[in-house]
Symmetry: C2
Subunit: 409 residues, 2 copies
């Protein structure tokens, strides 16, 4: 039902709107981002959609339904990128959603519900240190205090108004009219490719918990201090990294996606001939099942005490710098998506998303779920990111069928 | 024979010549450094010494001997400091040496040999990335290429001429007149304090070997990449840190000082939600016995191959970025120092220096050895650095007796 060439053409056009030396960079709030949006808006208008920027700075293309009181079906994703990544991450979902609207128009189908195609503002961690600005903002989940977070001399409120949003009315947003939400996204992992599946039906978006641990030893002269008279913060922190990996690998073997990664690791004084005095590490934990995260945190709290004693260092009580619960996909939307896969003949499997997505925020206020399409070697947030256009087009066809079924029920 | 109050007064005066917010910082080549030297030079002159700056930028105070052809006995250390450290590190040895000259004058003793009291230029790693500038330079061991090493728009040659040295004639330096060299230094380790000894007779200065290892994994999304599908450079590097610690602890149990420390550790991309792709670590190895260092390097070369396979990462062949052999103290000078300890009634023990010192460079061209005095909790290169004045004065008395014995033989 959808036109694969049109999808390829739009994704290629957006790929040209990038920092030339850093493909494929189109950072939220940048002039390039606005250039990308101008392209998308023009294509929305060409598809007969009425465009607007909402209070949260989301770009929305709307087609009124035949039955005004029924509410809105929304489909979309985001057009911003991380630095050096994002050839498909986000934009594949925006263009697929747009293609649904175009395919409906081609087939002269008008839905009973209003249809909105959305490009959420700043899904990726932005220059203001905030991610999912648009999806949080559209649903009243952007804390007021965050509006004053700064990047240079601009704050987030200025950033939102700069793209045409209205931060003053932002906090009152709720969208009670939303009847359902769908998002297509690249998997950003290797599972679909390895299992040769076309579509992942995302049963849950993992909760993300960030935990900071700081290990304090004693700075000593690396030349003169006997090996057995040291309190080496790096040695203790290295043991902690290994223990975290092993604990996470165990939890990953139980039902439900689980991962924990030490991604940030800073040592002090970081001088060649000084025994490291301090390491601060940041753990990124992901759990499909909340009790897994609770178990991990409980293990960690106890383990650092044992470790501190064994290594003669101090380890602070691990501090959760952020903590979000897993978000299940709406069961009836999941069934609708599976039916749609059957209709278009797509091989599908249920799976969790280890990554955060706008869908997680929309799912707090409306029935929502998402689908994944395969991406090469699971690579994302990198210039290597690649997805086959046929896979994206098949995903768009699934969205098309699912929107039609949602409209009927 | 020496005057402890004079030593205390001078060390206290030098402690006042520091960056006010960063005690006790008097970095080589800085205006404060020159201020410190002006004080030392004035005190040298007051002690009847004839002062000069040699080609390598060392400050030397000289008293001619009665027998001009016999050569020079030299005593000294350095007045520069690391950032935030150096209340006693270096300066205790310069002032003790000066006190030897003063005590000789007080007692109206003129040596047969010429006596030189030296403040070596830039013993600590300097802004040009070079340490032991003065002791290397005085003995023709400063590689010519290093003279063009930069700090901002100044090079080391400019730095040396800026303190009054003469880089043009530097490479011809040899000092064949040196008959003996002595240095007093704080231990910078906990051994003397723990064993309640007054003096360490330094049998050897450990060789310092710096080894760089880089571990390359693959940057993956921390949320979506299953635990068993990762090539996490931080996990592999953490195992390496622990293995290095254990290997070093084993070698430390065999005769001869041995230590190995990972002091620098940089991870990439160091982002919360990205599996680390790369870790570069720098190992600082110290060996009193060269074969220990060879054994360590052989173990490391083989071990990284095993580790790379086990963790699915690439580890480059460890690269020795610098490599110096251990320097034994001269046996007859060591005996002279032990005799001096007996004369003044100092409790002494033989020990190795894990830290590098100017003595190591002078020992390549002349009979040389050094003594350690205790420092509190082994702390150095830190604002906490402390040594008791009575301990330093006892060390100065040992130097005095040793100089007299060297003069006689
Ligand atoms: N989809 C995605 O990469 N989101 C970024 C937030 C995260 O999951 O780390
Ligand atoms: N004595 C001393 O601290 N020297 C600095 C060089 C080193 O040993 O690391």
């Amino acid at each position: 039902p959808v036109n694969a060439d049109r999808i390829a053409e739009d994704i290629a056009a957006l790929a040209k709107i990038t920092e030339p030396d850093h493909p494929w960079t189109r950072r939220a709030f940048s002039p390039l981002f606005l250039e990308g949006r101008a392209y998308i808006e023009a294509r929305m208008k060409a598809a007969g959609l009425e465009t607007r920027i909402d209070a949260a700075g989301n770009l929305i293309g709307r087609s009124a339904g035949t039955n005004p009181g029924l509410g809105t079906i929304m489909v979309g994703s985001h057009s911003d990128t991380v630095p050096d990544g994002g050839r498909f991450d986000g934009i594949a979902g925006v263009i697929s959603a747009l293609e649904v609207a175009r395919a409906l128009k081609d087939q002269a189908i008008t839905l009973e519900h209003d249809l909105e195609i959305v490009d959420f503002l700043a899904e990726e961690v932005s220059i203001f240190g905030v991610s999912c600005v648009g999806s949080r903002g559209m649903t009243g989940q952007l804390p007021e205090a965050w509006l004053s977070r700064k990047s240079g001399d601009r704050d987030l409120a200025k950033g939102i108004s700069g793209v045409g949003g209205d931060p003053a009315t932002l906090l009152a947003q709720r969208r009670p009219d939303l009847k359902g939400f769908l998002e297509l996204h690249i998997e950003q992992g290797p599972v679909l490719e390895n299992e040769k599946k076309d579509i992942g039906i995302v049963t849950a978006i993992a909760g993300i918990t960030r935990i900071e641990v700081s290990v304090e030893g004693r700075a000593d002269h690396a030349g003169t201090t006997p090996m057995d008279a040291r309190a080496d913060a790096l040695v203790a922190a290295s043991q902690l990294v290994l223990d975290i990996r092993n604990a996470a690998a165990e939890l990953a073997k139980t039902p439900g996606h689980f991962a924990a990664t030490v991604g940030e690791f800073r040592i002090e004084p970081n001088a060649a001939n000084v025994v490291p005095s301090k390491v601060v590490l940041l753990i990124d934990g992901r759990a499909e099942i909340r009790s897994d995260m609770e178990a991990f945190c409980e293990w960690l709290d106890a383990h650092v005490i044992t470790l501190a004693i064994a290594h003669g260092v101090m380890i602070n009580a691990p501090s959760r710098v952020s903590d979000n619960y897993p978000t299940p996909g709406d069961p009836s939307v999941l069934r609708t998506l599976e039916n749609a896969c059957e209709t278009v003949g797509a091989e599908h499997r249920r799976m969790a998303s280890g990554a955060g997505h706008d869908t997680a925020w929309i799912a707090k206020v409306a029935p929502a779920a998402m689908i994944f399409v395969p991406c090469r070697e699971g690579r994302s947030h990198s210039a290597d990111e690649w997805a086959e256009n046929d896979d994206i087009a098949l995903g768009a066809a699934v969205l098309f069928e699912a929107v039609r079924e949602m409209d009927r029920t």
